[in-house]
Symmetry: C2
């Protein structure tokens, strides 16, 4: 039995998230079905990140075991023509039999995309959160700095999530202002890199950085939010459609 | 009676183009219906450019006459909440009674978006043409230079189009390579500005510039194509989903 690793990109718009659910279309469900047809075996993939409904990915990771004679690096060419256009295998390779996509040291990078201005351009609407109000990117950057390092992120974890510890390490928070000319306002990308994330953490951090961007809170208020260890102190959970799982690096 | 001008952005994916057609969803059809409901009058807009099925716009222009008491600059706020998310009014204003969106001197800017690489990222698929092969952007730029100025563009006009003259002025052809990190290959934008365009002209020019980018033709071959005045000499008409009507300037 061989183990294969797939790097998977998808447009989450039409999916009920990654994880298989009865009578709902999911990324994992489609992969299981098409890999089973391709190999003639009953395939169940293990995903690195169970992204929520509507979240997009450039590089989620799925692993599965198979006896298929198709060489690892050719798998993507065999699988892509069978997949719907909103799921694509970007890379494929054979890995060690004990490689596990979740129980490994990883560094994940997420992006949260925001457009500002009086209207949201229609061709941005599926892939960007929108606010009519201007965001002070410099204030967001300063606020983001308080999150870097090892901290207790309990205030940035969806209430009720079952986890042993809410301590996580965020290695980088960047806030970038792009200008593609495809917007009447700003196009902002919040990029957060870390070793493990709590449930909804990136969306809650993004909602909180937006409050700093509106000057509702000074950047240093992030420290108080973090020390309070209380979800209600942070900003809102911003919508799924602006969130992209960009990359998972195995360290 | 007052005349109003709207700058209209849309995602053309789900539309049979701009122009009203029986039993097909069109941009013009939706605007007529919602403007009629908003004003209580029978509104029929005049569009500046009748974009094809699947083509997107950041700034098409529509004009209509109405007795509405809504001030021109407020119209967008009244109309946008009634429109589907894939159509947005970006600007609105009252204009002179004899302003006509087509019979004016205008400069139009189109963009054609291309991704290269072994896969097309799912979140790019609705807004970009894809080719697995690398494109030499410098060769495309050199080829594009031969199109600037006043020329007979008969070779770049869909066969059978009824026009008095195929002479047009192209003021600028730019080929830009972007890197958003959302692609395994290149992200290329062809930007073409001109005073009037022939049917399918931007899509045929883009398909022809791609041949130069593949090194199938040397850049200077553009001159021969143009002088031949024959559609069959140029490259293919590339798909609608990569095309954006970016801006219409009234001179």
């Amino acid at each position: 039995m061989k183990r294969f690793k797939l790097v998977v990109a998808y447009d989450g718009t039409d999916y009920s998230g990654w994880q298989v659910q009865p009578s709902a279309k999911t990324i994992e469900g489609v992969l299981n079905e098409e890999l089973s047809k391709l190999t003639g075996e009953q395939i169940v993939v293990m995903g690195a990140s169970r992204t929520d409904a509507g979240v997009h990915a450039f590089g989620n990771v799925a692993v599965f075991d198979s006896e298929t004679p198709i060489p690892g690096e050719k798998l993507l060419f065999a699988l892509n023509p069978r997949l719907p256009e909103d799921i694509r295998i970007v890379e494929s390779e054979e890995v060690a039999e004990d490689f596990h996509p979740r129980f490994c040291d990883t560094r994940k990078t997420y992006e949260y995309h925001i457009c500002t201005g009086r209207v949201l351009f229609p061709t941005k609407r599926l892939y960007s959160h929108w606010t009519p109000r201007h965001l002070d990117v410099q204030a967001m950057r300063e606020a983001g700095k308080f999150l870097e390092g090892e901290h207790d992120f309990k205030s940035f974890c969806a209430a009720g999530a079952q986890v042993k510890t809410t301590v996580r390490t965020v290695t980088k928070v960047e806030v970038e202002e792009c200008s593609s000319g495809e917007s009447v306002g700003q196009e902002i990308v919040i990029r957060i890199q870390g070793e493990g994330f709590l449930y909804n953490m990136v969306r809650i951090i993004s909602g909180t950085l937006m409050k700093a961007g509106y000057h509702m809170w000074p950047p240093e208020h992030m420290k108080e939010i973090m020390e309070g260890r209380d979800r209600s102190l942070a900003g809102e959970t911003v919508p799924a459609n602006g969130l992209f799982l960009k990359e998972i690096e195995y360290l």
